[in-house]
Subunit: 203 residues, 2 copies
């Protein structure tokens, strides 16, 4: 069994779990609940990952792997390779760039939430997040049809999780009205067994 430092609240952990389900590898992952927060490093986790971040994977031979996209590529390799990320060529770099967009968007939402929850949020940061969202949502809405035509991969998984995260933490953004094609695609993707098996819960 592989060991995965896991939490039901982390969208990055969820990326790995959805990937594992899509690849048929979920039963090879033993999840270990590891609750981290940006301001609360976890000493036991830092033995395996000094950044104190999840997901962190320990493979069957004891190799430690992080971050989420590295683990996803590793799981993909266990399943034969080239399924969640094209193995080479232009399609690989397009998938990696789309994943970077989706994951950078998720990063932004996480930091935005941190800013919002501060005693004294910095207005310039909140404004910057708002401005970037005004660029990101139309960009995703414009590209989602092309993304939807590719096989399920790291970009689609991360985009679906980002959408669900907005529903969960940023309902007031009205993202579904502002990015209707992305929203429609996400609603369908969200019904996949891999997504339904990995709900984000505030527990």
């Amino acid at each position: 069994m592989m060991k995965l430092h896991w939490s039901p609240r982390s969208p990055y952990v969820r990326k790995v779990m959805v990937a594992a389900h899509e690849l048929g590898l979920a039963d090879r992952l033993q999840t270990v609940r590891t609750v981290v927060a940006m301001a609360k490093p976890v000493p036991e986790l830092m033995i395996e990952n000094p950044l104190s971040k999840i997901p962190t994977l320990v493979t069957e031979d004891g190799t430690i792997l992080y971050d989420s996209v590295v683990i996803m590529e590793y799981l993909d390799s266990l399943a034969g390779g080239g399924r969640l990320i094209p193995a080479s060529g232009p399609a690989r770099f397009v998938e990696l760039r789309r994943h970077a967009l989706a994951n950078g968007f998720l990063d932004m939402l996480i930091y935005w939430r941190g800013e919002r929850d501060r005693e004294t949020p910095m207005a310039a940061m909140i404004d910057a997040y708002t401005t970037k969202l005004d660029a990101i949502l139309p960009a995703l809405d414009a590209e989602i049809d092309a993304i939807a035509q590719t096989p399920v991969g790291i970009a689609q998984i991360t985009l679906a999780i980002a959408g669900d995260y907005m529903d969960f933490r940023f309902a007031q953004l009205g993202w579904r009205e502002r990015a209707p094609r992305y929203s429609a695609w996400q609603s369908t993707f969200q019904e996949r067994p891999s997504m339904r098996a990995t709900p984000v819960v505030d527990a």
Copy 2:
């Protein structure tokens, strides 16, 4: 020519520039000065990368790529592949994990600097960064001899840049005394032409 959104202050841009020099591809990159800050999105950049982040690359066929590690893998592929990241197998995942450690460390330093420069820094965040540094520096010092035995790749490049960034922005941390093996390795790596050609300047 490829076009690279570039700034002399960004350690992530520097990763790409050092990679380009190591691969002999620097003369195929046209750098375009694009000054970004976390709280200052750049409209022209957001047309190509709605996250408003650098580095962002436009390839010779017009494909847009980001973030830094995606661009580094792309440049590696142009140079034949497998030079900065092993093409497959266990060595690939070790390199990717070491890069994730180095890059996560760099991310932490960037956010730490942002926190430090706030009007009211959050004590819990500063404490968390300090605690993580206490785990990261010994971890890097313990692993650097193994890392030094691999070919120059994305992990070494990022570790060397993180060291230089600490000299530049966090001199008071005393990292060289606290991680003497990492420091000695970094001092040697820093003399490579690729590093000397890409100094970080506050301009």
